[in-house]
């Protein structure tokens, strides 16, 4: 009698288990087999390890150059800053252009302080030519470019009356460079204000 009841209960349990399994399969069919409709994208423009390494290296070269400058070793400081221009950044990282432009500005000033005015001008012009967008760093390059024009003018002034006209041209060019820097700064500031 008990055996018969147990048999009945067993059949019932198996039936219910199969039914529940079927229903669970129906309700959870998309959980495991089908991929989600949405998933978190892995964009390439997030801050990644490669960018952080590049920024850290740039930071270290700047620190090194600063130590050399404080020690009066402008040549070593210049070499250290030049190494920043050789750093590899992630492709398309906006920080790369900003860091390089800032390094060029410092490099140009170091060159000017060492009397290498033409080399300084080339460094700035290369930076401006390579810039893809207007930025405060590009504006700073124009500022440094103006300083270089001023340095040229001072050099021409020292050469005597014959170079006075050229010195005037350099001062005008310096003013134009400063104006360009001011123009970019104003434009960017306006854009940033509008974004807030």
């Amino acid at each position: 009698m008990i055996h018969k009841h147990l048999k009945t209960l067993g059949i019932l349990a198996i039936g219910i288990a199969i039914g529940i399994t079927g229903l669970v399969a129906c309700s959870n069919e998309r959980d495991a087999s089908a991929p989600s409709q949405t998933r978190v994208a892995d964009p390439t423009d997030v801050i990644d390890e490669e960018l952080m390494v590049s920024l850290a290296q740039a930071k270290n070269f700047h620190r090194k150059a600063k130590v050399y400058m404080s020690d009066g070793n402008l040549v070593a400081a210049t070499a250290s800053v030049r190494q920043i221009l050789s750093l590899r950044f992630p492709a398309g990282a906006p920080e790369a252009e900003d860091v390089r432009a800032d390094a060029r500005a410092l490099l140009a000033k170091l060159l000017v302080s060492q009397g290498q005015i033409e080399e300084a001008m080339r460094t700035v012009q290369e930076g401006l030519a390579q810039s893809q967008r207007e930025s405060f760093f590009v504006a700073n390059l124009h500022t440094v470019q103006g300083e270089i024009h001023e340095a040229r003018a001072a050099q021409l002034d020292a050469e005597g009356e014959a170079s006075k006209a050229k010195a005037t041209d350099e001062r005008r060019a310096a003013i134009a460079a400063y104006d360009r820097s001011i123009q970019i700064n104003e434009k960017l500031q306006k854009q940033l204000m509008e974004q807030r």
Binding site: P35, Q37, D48, V99, F136, A139
Partner: protein
């Protein structure tokens, strides 16, 4: 009475057309009374073996002719016991605790019905899973949902306009930029890359 019976049984068989003797008539009347009493349930306590044998034959003949009616409850009990035995139930003799046949059948087939229904549902579910075509996945790039602090971006908002007297202060600016990007990088890593 025993001697009379013995005489009756051992005496020669009379002719078919022979007139019944008074003794035979008396014996027939007595036996008829016994049969009548037995049919109404009043069986005599004691009787001869020959009379008992004749009485049993008479009862069987009477029952075969439909002359005996069982009580309704007794009839129902006997029928249900027989049917229960026929479908594999417990033996007879327990009429008092007999389950009605209809309810017994339901009880017997219910587990099978549940099992069959569940199996059908499961089979249908498996069939639906198998036949349904995989839905096309739409990958939504959630770049817009990623916080700006996690992204590689221009440093202009961080640095602001660079004054002429700070034109060569690139070291300070790179320190500031590095610290800012490190915050975003750590935030993204610690959150598992999900906003």
């Amino acid at each position: 009475m025993a001697s009379h019976d013995d005489d009756f049984l051992t005496s020669p068989v009379p002719e078919p057309d022979a007139e019944a003797t008074p003794s035979e008539r008396a014996h027939a009347k007595t036996f008829a009374d016994i049969v009548d009493k037995t049919l109404v349930g009043r069986t005599p306590v004691a009787m001869s073996a020959d009379d008992r044998a004749l009485l049993e034959v008479a009862t069987v003949i009477s029952a075969a002719n439909g002359g005996m009616e069982l009580a309704a409850s007794k009839q129902r009990s006997i029928v249900e016991d027989a049917l229960r035995q026929a479908i594999g139930g417990v033996g007879a003799g327990t009429s008092g605790s007999v389950t009605p046949i209809a309810r017994g059948r339901v009880k017997r087939w219910m587990p099978w019905a549940v099992a069959a229904t569940s199996t059908l549902v499961a089979a249908a579910a498996v069939l639906v899973l198998w036949l349904r075509a995989p839905q096309q996945t739409t990958i939504v790039h959630e770049t817009a949902a990623i916080p700006a602090s996690w992204t590689s971006r221009p440093a202009d908002p961080l640095v602001g306009p660079i004054a002429r007297e700070h034109a060569g202060d690139a070291s300070s600016r790179i320190d500031y930029l590095f610290a800012d990007r490190l915050d975003g990088y750590r935030e993204r890593r610690l959150s598992g890359g999900k906003p």
